[in-house]
Amino acid sequence: MIDRGGSRRDECEAGGEDAGRLEVSMGPQHPSTHGVFRMDVVLEGETVVRLKPVFGYLHRNHEKIAEQTTYLGSMPYTDRLDYFCSLTSNWAYALAVEKLAGLAVPERAEYLRVITAELTRLQNHACQMGFMLQDLGAMGTPMMYAFREREKILDLFESLTGSRMMCNYMRFGGCRADAPAGWIEAARGVVGDFPRFLDEYEALLATNEIVMARTQGVGVLPRDLAINASASGPVLRASGVGYDIRKTDRYGVYDRFDFRVPVGDHGDCYDRFMLRLLEMRESVKILEAALEQIPAGPVIDGKVKLRNFKPRAGEAYGRIEGPKGEIGFYLISDGSASPYRYRVRPPSLINLTALEEMCLGQKVADVVVILGSIDIVLGEVDR
Protein backbone atom coordinates (compact mmCIF):
# COMPACT_ATOMS: atom_id res chain seq x y z
CA MET A 1 0.00 0.00 0.00
CA ILE A 2 2.72 2.44 0.84
CA ASP A 3 4.92 0.97 -1.78
CA ARG A 4 2.44 1.78 -4.49
CA GLY A 5 2.32 5.40 -3.50
CA GLY A 6 6.08 5.48 -3.41
CA SER A 7 6.53 3.86 -6.76
CA ARG A 8 4.05 6.20 -8.33
CA ARG A 9 6.06 9.05 -6.98
CA ASP A 10 9.28 7.58 -8.37
CA GLU A 11 7.75 6.94 -11.72
CA CYS A 12 6.84 10.57 -12.05
CA GLU A 13 10.22 11.67 -10.94
CA ALA A 14 11.85 9.28 -13.34
CA GLY A 15 9.79 10.84 -16.09
CA GLY A 16 12.83 12.89 -16.92
CA GLU A 17 13.96 16.32 -15.95
CA ASP A 18 13.26 17.60 -19.41
CA ALA A 19 12.09 21.03 -20.33
CA GLY A 20 8.44 21.97 -20.16
CA ARG A 21 8.31 21.59 -16.42
CA LEU A 22 6.99 24.40 -14.40
CA GLU A 23 7.49 24.76 -10.70
CA VAL A 24 4.69 26.66 -9.08
CA SER A 25 4.47 27.54 -5.45
CA MET A 26 0.77 27.65 -4.62
CA GLY A 27 0.36 29.63 -1.47
CA PRO A 28 0.81 30.64 1.26
CA GLN A 29 -1.44 33.31 -0.15
CA HIS A 30 -3.66 31.61 -2.66
CA PRO A 31 -7.41 31.92 -2.86
CA SER A 32 -7.97 28.19 -2.71
CA THR A 33 -5.58 26.96 -0.09
CA HIS A 34 -8.09 27.79 2.64
CA GLY A 35 -5.71 29.94 4.56
CA VAL A 36 -1.98 30.07 4.63
CA PHE A 37 -1.14 26.69 3.22
CA ARG A 38 1.49 26.22 0.59
CA MET A 39 2.04 23.54 -1.98
CA ASP A 40 5.15 23.41 -4.08
CA VAL A 41 3.85 21.91 -7.29
CA VAL A 42 5.81 20.75 -10.29
CA LEU A 43 3.76 20.78 -13.45
CA GLU A 44 4.20 19.29 -16.85
CA GLY A 45 1.85 21.32 -18.93
CA GLU A 46 -1.02 21.41 -16.50
CA THR A 47 -0.39 17.96 -15.04
CA VAL A 48 0.98 17.62 -11.54
CA VAL A 49 4.11 15.50 -11.38
CA ARG A 50 5.21 16.42 -7.89
CA LEU A 51 3.58 18.10 -4.96
CA LYS A 52 5.09 18.98 -1.63
CA PRO A 53 2.94 20.58 1.00
CA VAL A 54 4.60 23.20 3.18
CA PHE A 55 3.13 23.79 6.59
CA GLY A 56 3.66 26.09 9.50
CA TYR A 57 2.46 29.44 8.26
CA LEU A 58 -0.14 29.44 10.99
CA HIS A 59 1.85 27.65 13.64
CA ARG A 60 0.79 29.61 16.66
CA ASN A 61 2.18 27.43 19.37
CA HIS A 62 -1.09 26.23 20.80
CA GLU A 63 0.52 23.25 22.53
CA LYS A 64 3.29 25.27 24.10
CA ILE A 65 0.88 27.88 25.39
CA ALA A 66 -1.36 25.16 26.78
CA GLU A 67 1.51 23.64 28.71
CA GLN A 68 2.09 27.00 30.36
CA THR A 69 -1.49 27.73 31.31
CA THR A 70 -4.13 26.03 33.39
CA TYR A 71 -6.38 23.24 32.20
CA LEU A 72 -9.28 25.66 32.04
CA GLY A 73 -7.20 28.31 30.29
CA SER A 74 -6.69 26.04 27.29
CA MET A 75 -10.39 25.68 26.67
CA PRO A 76 -10.80 28.98 24.78
CA TYR A 77 -7.70 28.12 22.78
CA THR A 78 -9.30 24.91 21.56
CA ASP A 79 -11.98 27.12 20.00
CA ARG A 80 -9.33 28.59 17.80
CA LEU A 81 -7.94 25.25 16.63
CA ASP A 82 -10.60 24.50 14.13
CA TYR A 83 -12.38 27.78 13.94
CA PHE A 84 -15.36 26.31 12.19
CA CYS A 85 -15.97 23.71 14.83
CA SER A 86 -15.13 25.23 18.17
CA LEU A 87 -17.70 23.15 19.98
CA THR A 88 -16.40 19.78 18.84
CA SER A 89 -12.86 20.82 19.77
CA ASN A 90 -14.21 21.88 23.15
CA TRP A 91 -15.82 18.53 23.54
CA ALA A 92 -12.76 16.55 22.58
CA TYR A 93 -10.66 18.47 25.08
CA ALA A 94 -13.26 18.22 27.81
CA LEU A 95 -13.54 14.49 27.13
CA ALA A 96 -9.80 14.01 27.43
CA VAL A 97 -9.66 15.94 30.70
CA GLU A 98 -12.64 14.03 32.02
CA LYS A 99 -10.86 10.79 31.24
CA LEU A 100 -7.73 12.11 32.87
CA ALA A 101 -9.50 13.15 36.04
CA GLY A 102 -12.22 10.53 36.03
CA LEU A 103 -15.18 12.88 35.87
CA ALA A 104 -18.75 12.05 34.98
CA VAL A 105 -21.00 14.32 32.97
CA PRO A 106 -24.68 14.94 33.78
CA GLU A 107 -27.12 13.62 31.26
CA ARG A 108 -28.49 16.98 30.16
CA ALA A 109 -24.99 18.18 29.48
CA GLU A 110 -24.36 15.12 27.33
CA TYR A 111 -27.42 15.94 25.28
CA LEU A 112 -26.39 19.56 24.95
CA ARG A 113 -23.01 18.37 23.78
CA VAL A 114 -24.53 16.11 21.17
CA ILE A 115 -26.83 18.88 19.97
CA THR A 116 -24.10 21.48 19.69
CA ALA A 117 -21.70 19.02 18.09
CA GLU A 118 -24.20 17.97 15.46
CA LEU A 119 -25.12 21.57 14.75
CA THR A 120 -21.42 22.19 14.34
CA ARG A 121 -21.22 19.31 11.93
CA LEU A 122 -24.09 20.72 9.90
CA GLN A 123 -22.52 24.14 9.50
CA ASN A 124 -19.05 22.78 8.93
CA HIS A 125 -20.13 20.38 6.21
CA ALA A 126 -22.30 22.99 4.55
CA CYS A 127 -19.45 25.47 4.48
CA GLN A 128 -16.96 22.87 3.33
CA MET A 129 -19.15 22.10 0.35
CA GLY A 130 -19.44 25.79 -0.32
CA PHE A 131 -15.69 26.23 -0.22
CA MET A 132 -15.14 23.25 -2.44
CA LEU A 133 -17.56 24.64 -4.99
CA GLN A 134 -15.80 27.95 -4.71
CA ASP A 135 -12.60 26.14 -5.61
CA LEU A 136 -14.41 24.58 -8.52
CA GLY A 137 -15.09 28.08 -9.71
CA ALA A 138 -18.73 28.61 -8.79
CA MET A 139 -18.97 32.32 -8.15
CA GLY A 140 -19.73 32.04 -4.48
CA THR A 141 -23.36 31.04 -4.85
CA PRO A 142 -23.17 27.69 -3.03
CA MET A 143 -21.01 29.31 -0.38
CA MET A 144 -23.54 32.08 0.09
CA TYR A 145 -26.29 29.53 0.60
CA ALA A 146 -24.12 27.62 3.03
CA PHE A 147 -23.31 30.73 5.01
CA ARG A 148 -26.96 31.73 4.96
CA GLU A 149 -27.73 28.53 6.85
CA ARG A 150 -24.59 28.82 8.94
CA GLU A 151 -25.72 32.19 10.25
CA LYS A 152 -28.87 30.61 11.60
CA ILE A 153 -26.82 28.03 13.47
CA LEU A 154 -24.41 30.69 14.68
CA ASP A 155 -27.36 32.61 16.06
CA LEU A 156 -28.18 29.53 18.10
CA PHE A 157 -24.60 29.26 19.27
CA GLU A 158 -24.52 32.89 20.23
CA SER A 159 -27.64 32.75 22.30
CA LEU A 160 -26.46 29.56 23.98
CA THR A 161 -22.79 30.25 24.50
CA GLY A 162 -22.42 33.99 24.00
CA SER A 163 -20.22 33.91 20.95
CA ARG A 164 -20.74 33.18 17.30
CA MET A 165 -17.56 31.29 16.64
CA MET A 166 -15.43 31.01 19.73
CA CYS A 167 -17.94 29.37 21.99
CA ASN A 168 -15.77 28.26 24.94
CA TYR A 169 -18.83 26.39 26.11
CA MET A 170 -17.80 23.09 27.57
CA ARG A 171 -16.32 22.61 30.97
CA PHE A 172 -14.81 19.60 32.67
CA GLY A 173 -17.80 17.70 33.94
CA GLY A 174 -20.47 19.34 31.84
CA CYS A 175 -21.31 22.52 30.01
CA ARG A 176 -20.89 26.06 31.18
CA ALA A 177 -24.48 27.21 31.00
CA ASP A 178 -27.89 25.75 30.47
CA ALA A 179 -29.85 26.55 27.36
CA PRO A 180 -31.76 29.82 27.79
CA ALA A 181 -35.53 29.84 27.66
CA GLY A 182 -36.84 29.07 24.22
CA TRP A 183 -33.53 27.87 22.87
CA ILE A 184 -34.57 24.28 22.36
CA GLU A 185 -37.60 25.43 20.38
CA ALA A 186 -35.47 27.76 18.29
CA ALA A 187 -33.03 24.95 17.61
CA ARG A 188 -35.91 22.71 16.62
CA GLY A 189 -36.99 25.36 14.13
CA VAL A 190 -33.53 25.66 12.59
CA VAL A 191 -33.13 21.90 12.37
CA GLY A 192 -36.58 21.56 10.87
CA ASP A 193 -35.70 24.06 8.16
CA PHE A 194 -32.39 22.49 7.37
CA PRO A 195 -33.53 19.69 5.03
CA ARG A 196 -34.97 22.34 2.75
CA PHE A 197 -31.48 23.72 2.36
CA LEU A 198 -30.08 20.25 1.77
CA ASP A 199 -32.60 19.67 -0.98
CA GLU A 200 -31.63 22.96 -2.52
CA TYR A 201 -27.98 22.04 -2.38
CA GLU A 202 -28.63 18.66 -3.86
CA ALA A 203 -30.64 20.12 -6.72
CA LEU A 204 -28.03 22.75 -7.36
CA LEU A 205 -24.98 20.55 -7.25
CA ALA A 206 -25.36 16.82 -6.76
CA THR A 207 -26.34 15.98 -10.32
CA ASN A 208 -24.71 18.96 -11.95
CA GLU A 209 -22.79 17.59 -14.91
CA ILE A 210 -19.89 19.98 -14.46
CA VAL A 211 -19.54 19.06 -10.81
CA MET A 212 -19.62 15.38 -11.67
CA ALA A 213 -17.06 15.79 -14.42
CA ARG A 214 -14.79 17.79 -12.19
CA THR A 215 -14.96 15.54 -9.15
CA GLN A 216 -15.67 11.96 -10.21
CA GLY A 217 -12.51 9.95 -10.50
CA VAL A 218 -10.47 12.88 -9.24
CA GLY A 219 -8.24 12.59 -6.20
CA VAL A 220 -8.85 8.92 -5.56
CA LEU A 221 -7.71 7.70 -2.17
CA PRO A 222 -7.68 3.88 -2.14
CA ARG A 223 -9.10 2.10 0.88
CA ASP A 224 -5.86 0.58 2.12
CA LEU A 225 -3.94 3.78 1.80
CA ALA A 226 -6.68 5.68 3.58
CA ILE A 227 -6.37 3.45 6.63
CA ASN A 228 -2.62 3.28 6.47
CA ALA A 229 -2.27 7.03 6.15
CA SER A 230 -4.55 7.48 9.17
CA ALA A 231 -7.17 9.40 7.27
CA SER A 232 -10.27 9.99 9.30
CA GLY A 233 -13.76 11.36 9.11
CA PRO A 234 -15.51 11.74 5.76
CA VAL A 235 -12.21 11.26 3.92
CA LEU A 236 -11.80 7.78 5.39
CA ARG A 237 -15.45 6.87 4.91
CA ALA A 238 -15.45 8.01 1.29
CA SER A 239 -12.73 5.44 0.69
CA GLY A 240 -15.05 2.68 1.73
CA VAL A 241 -14.25 2.32 5.42
CA GLY A 242 -17.30 2.46 7.63
CA TYR A 243 -15.42 3.79 10.63
CA ASP A 244 -17.19 6.39 12.70
CA ILE A 245 -15.99 7.10 16.21
CA ARG A 246 -19.52 7.95 17.25
CA LYS A 247 -20.35 4.31 16.56
CA THR A 248 -17.06 2.72 17.63
CA ASP A 249 -16.35 4.56 20.86
CA ARG A 250 -19.97 5.30 21.73
CA TYR A 251 -18.88 8.34 23.64
CA GLY A 252 -21.44 10.74 25.04
CA VAL A 253 -24.94 9.47 24.48
CA TYR A 254 -24.56 8.60 20.82
CA ASP A 255 -25.68 5.05 21.42
CA ARG A 256 -29.17 6.37 22.10
CA PHE A 257 -29.68 7.67 18.60
CA ASP A 258 -30.52 5.81 15.49
CA PHE A 259 -28.32 7.01 12.67
CA ARG A 260 -26.48 5.46 9.80
CA VAL A 261 -22.94 5.93 8.54
CA PRO A 262 -22.78 6.53 4.79
CA VAL A 263 -19.84 4.98 2.97
CA GLY A 264 -18.40 5.77 -0.43
CA ASP A 265 -17.03 3.22 -2.85
CA HIS A 266 -14.76 5.26 -5.08
CA GLY A 267 -12.80 7.40 -2.67
CA ASP A 268 -12.83 10.36 -5.01
CA CYS A 269 -13.79 13.98 -4.52
CA TYR A 270 -17.40 13.37 -5.47
CA ASP A 271 -17.74 10.68 -2.83
CA ARG A 272 -16.28 12.95 -0.20
CA PHE A 273 -18.65 15.66 -1.32
CA MET A 274 -21.74 13.48 -1.33
CA LEU A 275 -20.89 11.78 1.93
CA ARG A 276 -21.00 15.10 3.68
CA LEU A 277 -24.41 15.73 2.22
CA LEU A 278 -25.62 12.35 3.45
CA GLU A 279 -24.00 12.84 6.84
CA MET A 280 -25.87 16.08 7.24
CA ARG A 281 -29.12 14.24 6.69
CA GLU A 282 -28.15 11.79 9.43
CA SER A 283 -27.16 14.64 11.70
CA VAL A 284 -30.57 16.18 11.25
CA LYS A 285 -32.05 12.88 12.42
CA ILE A 286 -29.82 12.83 15.50
CA LEU A 287 -30.68 16.42 16.26
CA GLU A 288 -34.38 15.87 15.98
CA ALA A 289 -34.18 12.93 18.37
CA ALA A 290 -31.87 14.71 20.79
CA LEU A 291 -34.00 17.83 20.93
CA GLU A 292 -36.97 15.60 21.63
CA GLN A 293 -35.36 13.47 24.31
CA ILE A 294 -33.27 16.02 26.17
CA PRO A 295 -33.93 15.51 29.90
CA ALA A 296 -34.09 18.16 32.60
CA GLY A 297 -31.40 18.40 35.20
CA PRO A 298 -28.10 20.04 35.96
CA VAL A 299 -25.66 20.74 33.15
CA ILE A 300 -22.47 20.55 35.15
CA ASP A 301 -21.05 18.47 37.93
CA GLY A 302 -20.98 21.07 40.70
CA LYS A 303 -18.16 19.36 42.54
CA VAL A 304 -15.61 19.97 39.85
CA LYS A 305 -13.40 22.89 40.70
CA LEU A 306 -13.08 25.69 38.19
CA ARG A 307 -9.94 27.16 39.66
CA ASN A 308 -7.01 25.14 40.95
CA PHE A 309 -8.13 22.17 38.95
CA LYS A 310 -5.36 19.64 39.40
CA PRO A 311 -5.96 16.12 38.11
CA ARG A 312 -3.72 13.51 39.64
CA ALA A 313 -0.68 12.36 37.74
CA GLY A 314 -1.38 10.16 34.77
CA GLU A 315 -2.24 10.44 31.13
CA ALA A 316 -5.24 10.14 28.87
CA TYR A 317 -6.09 10.20 25.21
CA GLY A 318 -9.62 11.24 24.39
CA ARG A 319 -11.03 11.54 20.92
CA ILE A 320 -14.30 12.25 19.22
CA GLU A 321 -15.62 12.23 15.70
CA GLY A 322 -15.24 15.84 14.70
CA PRO A 323 -16.68 17.12 11.46
CA LYS A 324 -13.23 16.97 9.87
CA GLY A 325 -12.29 13.64 11.35
CA GLU A 326 -10.88 12.21 14.52
CA ILE A 327 -9.95 15.05 16.81
CA GLY A 328 -8.15 13.84 19.90
CA PHE A 329 -6.31 15.27 22.84
CA TYR A 330 -3.46 13.55 24.58
CA LEU A 331 -2.74 14.88 28.03
CA ILE A 332 -0.07 14.03 30.58
CA SER A 333 -0.63 15.38 34.04
CA ASP A 334 2.10 15.66 36.63
CA GLY A 335 -0.36 16.66 39.28
CA SER A 336 0.09 20.37 38.82
CA ALA A 337 -2.40 22.94 37.57
CA SER A 338 -1.18 22.84 33.99
CA PRO A 339 -0.66 19.78 31.81
CA TYR A 340 2.86 18.45 31.49
CA ARG A 341 2.19 17.46 27.92
CA TYR A 342 -0.71 18.64 25.85
CA ARG A 343 -1.09 17.33 22.37
CA VAL A 344 -3.78 17.79 19.77
CA ARG A 345 -4.34 15.09 17.23
CA PRO A 346 -5.25 17.29 14.28
CA PRO A 347 -7.45 15.52 11.72
CA SER A 348 -6.81 18.16 9.08
CA LEU A 349 -3.06 17.71 9.19
CA ILE A 350 -3.15 13.94 9.15
CA ASN A 351 -5.70 13.81 6.35
CA LEU A 352 -3.17 15.67 4.26
CA THR A 353 -0.63 12.86 4.56
CA ALA A 354 -1.71 11.26 1.31
CA LEU A 355 -2.27 14.54 -0.52
CA GLU A 356 0.55 13.97 -2.95
CA GLU A 357 -0.70 10.52 -3.91
CA MET A 358 -4.12 11.94 -4.52
CA CYS A 359 -2.85 14.75 -6.70
CA LEU A 360 -0.22 13.07 -8.86
CA GLY A 361 -1.23 12.87 -12.48
CA GLN A 362 -4.13 15.24 -11.99
CA LYS A 363 -4.46 18.71 -13.42
CA VAL A 364 -3.51 21.79 -11.50
CA ALA A 365 -7.15 22.77 -11.32
CA ASP A 366 -7.85 19.47 -9.58
CA VAL A 367 -5.35 20.15 -6.84
CA VAL A 368 -7.48 22.86 -5.35
CA VAL A 369 -10.56 20.67 -5.62
CA ILE A 370 -8.82 17.75 -3.93
CA LEU A 371 -7.62 20.04 -1.19
CA GLY A 372 -11.12 21.42 -0.84
CA SER A 373 -12.60 17.94 -0.65
CA ILE A 374 -10.28 16.98 2.20
CA ASP A 375 -11.62 19.90 4.19
CA ILE A 376 -8.72 21.31 6.08
CA VAL A 377 -8.58 24.26 8.37
CA LEU A 378 -5.21 25.80 8.90
CA GLY A 379 -5.67 26.62 12.54
CA GLU A 380 -5.73 22.92 13.15
CA VAL A 381 -3.15 21.86 10.59
CA ASP A 382 -0.47 24.09 12.01
CA ARG A 383 -1.88 24.73 15.48
Binding site: L72, S74, E151, S159, S163, N168, N208
Partner: protein, 195 residues
Amino acid sequence: MSVEGAGLIRGFIETGRNLVGSYVDPRRWVTVQYPEERRATPENSRVYPFLVYDGADPEEGLRCVSCKICEKECPPQCIYIVPAQDERGRPRKHPAIFDIDISVCMSCQICVEVCPFDSIKMDQAYAWDREDRFGGLLLHKADLARPNRYYRELHPAEARVVDEHLARERELRESGVRAAVRASLPGSGEPGGGT
Protein backbone atom coordinates in the same frame (compact mmCIF):
# COMPACT_ATOMS: atom_id res chain seq x y z
CA MET B 1 -33.22 7.75 -15.35
CA SER B 2 -31.74 11.13 -15.82
CA VAL B 3 -31.04 13.03 -18.97
CA GLU B 4 -27.65 14.65 -19.38
CA GLY B 5 -28.00 18.35 -18.92
CA ALA B 6 -30.88 17.97 -16.49
CA GLY B 7 -28.51 18.61 -13.61
CA LEU B 8 -27.50 21.93 -15.10
CA ILE B 9 -31.10 22.91 -15.67
CA ARG B 10 -32.00 21.96 -12.12
CA GLY B 11 -29.20 24.23 -10.95
CA PHE B 12 -30.53 27.10 -13.04
CA ILE B 13 -33.98 26.60 -11.59
CA GLU B 14 -32.55 26.70 -8.09
CA THR B 15 -30.60 29.90 -8.60
CA GLY B 16 -33.49 31.41 -10.49
CA ARG B 17 -35.77 30.61 -7.60
CA ASN B 18 -33.40 32.36 -5.25
CA LEU B 19 -33.15 35.32 -7.60
CA VAL B 20 -36.89 35.78 -7.63
CA GLY B 21 -37.20 34.69 -4.03
CA SER B 22 -34.93 37.44 -2.81
CA TYR B 23 -37.64 39.88 -3.88
CA VAL B 24 -40.68 38.06 -2.59
CA ASP B 25 -39.70 35.47 0.00
CA PRO B 26 -38.50 36.82 3.35
CA ARG B 27 -36.71 33.53 4.00
CA ARG B 28 -34.51 34.24 1.02
CA TRP B 29 -33.90 37.83 1.97
CA VAL B 30 -31.55 37.48 4.86
CA THR B 31 -29.44 40.62 4.67
CA VAL B 32 -29.37 42.85 7.70
CA GLN B 33 -28.36 46.18 6.25
CA TYR B 34 -25.97 47.27 8.94
CA PRO B 35 -25.62 50.10 10.12
CA GLU B 36 -29.19 51.16 9.34
CA GLU B 37 -30.62 47.87 10.53
CA ARG B 38 -29.22 46.10 13.53
CA ARG B 39 -30.09 42.77 14.98
CA ALA B 40 -30.57 42.62 18.69
CA THR B 41 -27.74 40.65 20.21
CA PRO B 42 -28.90 37.78 22.40
CA GLU B 43 -28.66 38.18 26.13
CA ASN B 44 -25.74 35.81 26.48
CA SER B 45 -23.68 37.56 23.86
CA ARG B 46 -20.28 38.73 25.01
CA VAL B 47 -17.50 40.88 23.70
CA TYR B 48 -15.27 42.57 26.27
CA PRO B 49 -15.39 42.68 30.06
CA PHE B 50 -16.47 45.66 32.11
CA LEU B 51 -16.45 46.40 35.82
CA VAL B 52 -19.70 46.72 37.73
CA TYR B 53 -20.17 49.40 40.34
CA ASP B 54 -23.02 49.83 42.79
CA GLY B 55 -24.46 53.18 43.64
CA ALA B 56 -23.65 56.36 41.80
CA ASP B 57 -19.90 56.73 42.12
CA PRO B 58 -17.97 54.73 39.55
CA GLU B 59 -14.83 54.98 41.62
CA GLU B 60 -16.00 54.14 45.11
CA GLY B 61 -18.82 51.83 44.11
CA LEU B 62 -16.61 49.39 42.24
CA ARG B 63 -17.26 45.88 43.36
CA CYS B 64 -13.73 44.89 42.48
CA VAL B 65 -11.64 44.16 45.54
CA SER B 66 -8.43 43.86 43.56
CA CYS B 67 -8.00 40.19 44.46
CA LYS B 68 -6.18 39.59 41.16
CA ILE B 69 -7.87 36.26 40.54
CA CYS B 70 -8.99 37.31 37.08
CA GLU B 71 -5.53 38.62 36.32
CA LYS B 72 -4.08 35.26 37.17
CA GLU B 73 -6.70 33.17 35.40
CA CYS B 74 -6.93 35.26 32.22
CA PRO B 75 -5.57 32.91 29.53
CA PRO B 76 -3.95 35.58 27.35
CA GLN B 77 -2.88 37.63 30.39
CA CYS B 78 -4.49 40.85 29.25
CA ILE B 79 -5.58 42.18 32.66
CA TYR B 80 -3.31 44.32 34.79
CA ILE B 81 -4.27 45.21 38.33
CA VAL B 82 -2.51 47.24 40.98
CA PRO B 83 -4.28 47.37 44.34
CA ALA B 84 -4.85 50.74 45.93
CA GLN B 85 -3.15 51.59 49.17
CA ASP B 86 -4.43 53.49 52.12
CA GLU B 87 -2.58 56.34 53.79
CA ARG B 88 -0.44 53.98 55.79
CA GLY B 89 0.66 52.06 52.72
CA ARG B 90 -1.44 48.98 53.35
CA PRO B 91 -3.30 47.45 50.42
CA ARG B 92 -6.93 48.42 50.23
CA LYS B 93 -9.64 46.21 48.77
CA HIS B 94 -9.85 48.43 45.74
CA PRO B 95 -7.93 48.61 42.48
CA ALA B 96 -5.70 51.61 41.86
CA ILE B 97 -5.08 50.47 38.30
CA PHE B 98 -7.35 48.08 36.44
CA ASP B 99 -6.40 47.87 32.78
CA ILE B 100 -7.60 45.52 30.10
CA ASP B 101 -5.80 45.39 26.79
CA ILE B 102 -8.62 44.67 24.39
CA SER B 103 -6.15 44.27 21.57
CA VAL B 104 -5.26 41.01 23.32
CA CYS B 105 -8.50 39.98 25.01
CA MET B 106 -10.04 36.88 23.48
CA SER B 107 -13.55 37.39 24.92
CA CYS B 108 -13.50 34.03 26.66
CA GLN B 109 -15.24 35.29 29.81
CA ILE B 110 -13.15 33.14 32.09
CA CYS B 111 -12.54 36.25 34.20
CA VAL B 112 -16.29 36.49 34.70
CA GLU B 113 -16.56 32.88 35.72
CA VAL B 114 -13.75 32.95 38.24
CA CYS B 115 -14.62 36.29 39.84
CA PRO B 116 -15.98 35.52 43.32
CA PHE B 117 -17.35 39.03 43.76
CA ASP B 118 -19.48 39.32 40.60
CA SER B 119 -17.61 42.46 39.78
CA ILE B 120 -16.46 41.78 36.23
CA LYS B 121 -19.04 41.06 33.55
CA MET B 122 -19.18 40.91 29.77
CA ASP B 123 -20.17 43.87 27.68
CA GLN B 124 -21.83 43.63 24.28
CA ALA B 125 -20.45 46.70 22.52
CA TYR B 126 -18.45 45.45 19.57
CA ALA B 127 -17.52 48.59 17.62
CA TRP B 128 -14.05 49.30 18.90
CA ASP B 129 -12.32 50.20 15.65
CA ARG B 130 -9.51 52.65 16.34
CA GLU B 131 -6.91 54.33 14.24
CA ASP B 132 -4.62 54.53 17.21
CA ARG B 133 -3.66 51.20 18.61
CA PHE B 134 -1.61 52.27 21.55
CA GLY B 135 -3.94 54.70 23.22
CA GLY B 136 -7.27 53.51 21.98
CA LEU B 137 -7.22 49.85 22.80
CA LEU B 138 -5.94 49.87 26.35
CA LEU B 139 -8.99 50.33 28.55
CA HIS B 140 -8.51 51.82 31.98
CA LYS B 141 -10.61 51.60 35.08
CA ALA B 142 -12.65 54.65 34.14
CA ASP B 143 -13.47 53.21 30.70
CA LEU B 144 -14.43 49.90 32.19
CA ALA B 145 -16.69 50.98 35.04
CA ARG B 146 -20.40 50.59 34.35
CA PRO B 147 -23.33 50.87 36.76
CA ASN B 148 -25.19 47.79 37.87
CA ARG B 149 -28.18 49.19 36.01
CA TYR B 150 -26.28 48.73 32.76
CA TYR B 151 -25.54 45.14 33.64
CA ARG B 152 -29.19 44.52 34.42
CA GLU B 153 -30.16 45.85 31.01
CA LEU B 154 -27.60 43.74 29.17
CA HIS B 155 -28.10 40.45 30.94
CA PRO B 156 -31.44 40.64 32.75
CA ALA B 157 -31.78 36.96 33.64
CA GLU B 158 -28.21 36.61 34.81
CA ALA B 159 -28.31 39.90 36.72
CA ARG B 160 -31.39 38.80 38.61
CA VAL B 161 -29.57 35.73 39.91
CA VAL B 162 -26.49 37.78 40.77
CA ASP B 163 -28.48 40.45 42.56
CA GLU B 164 -30.33 37.87 44.62
CA HIS B 165 -27.11 36.15 45.47
CA LEU B 166 -25.42 39.38 46.50
CA ALA B 167 -28.42 40.44 48.54
CA ARG B 168 -28.42 37.14 50.37
CA GLU B 169 -24.72 37.40 51.04
CA ARG B 170 -25.10 40.91 52.34
CA GLU B 171 -27.93 39.79 54.56
CA LEU B 172 -25.89 36.94 55.88
CA ARG B 173 -22.93 39.16 56.46
CA GLU B 174 -25.02 41.70 58.27
CA SER B 175 -26.86 39.12 60.32
CA GLY B 176 -23.54 37.53 61.04
CA VAL B 177 -22.21 40.83 62.27
CA ARG B 178 -25.29 41.37 64.36
CA ALA B 179 -24.99 37.87 65.77
CA ALA B 180 -21.36 38.37 66.48
CA VAL B 181 -22.08 41.63 68.23
CA ARG B 182 -24.79 39.96 70.23
CA ALA B 183 -22.52 37.06 71.06
CA SER B 184 -19.88 39.39 72.34
CA LEU B 185 -22.39 41.03 74.68
CA PRO B 186 -22.20 39.68 78.23
CA GLY B 187 -24.98 37.38 79.29
CA SER B 188 -25.92 36.26 75.86
CA GLY B 189 -25.90 32.53 75.26
CA GLU B 190 -26.54 32.63 71.54
CA PRO B 191 -23.95 31.02 69.34
CA GLY B 192 -22.26 33.36 66.84
CA GLY B 193 -21.59 32.94 63.16
CA GLY B 194 -23.73 33.39 60.17
CA THR B 195 -24.11 30.03 58.58
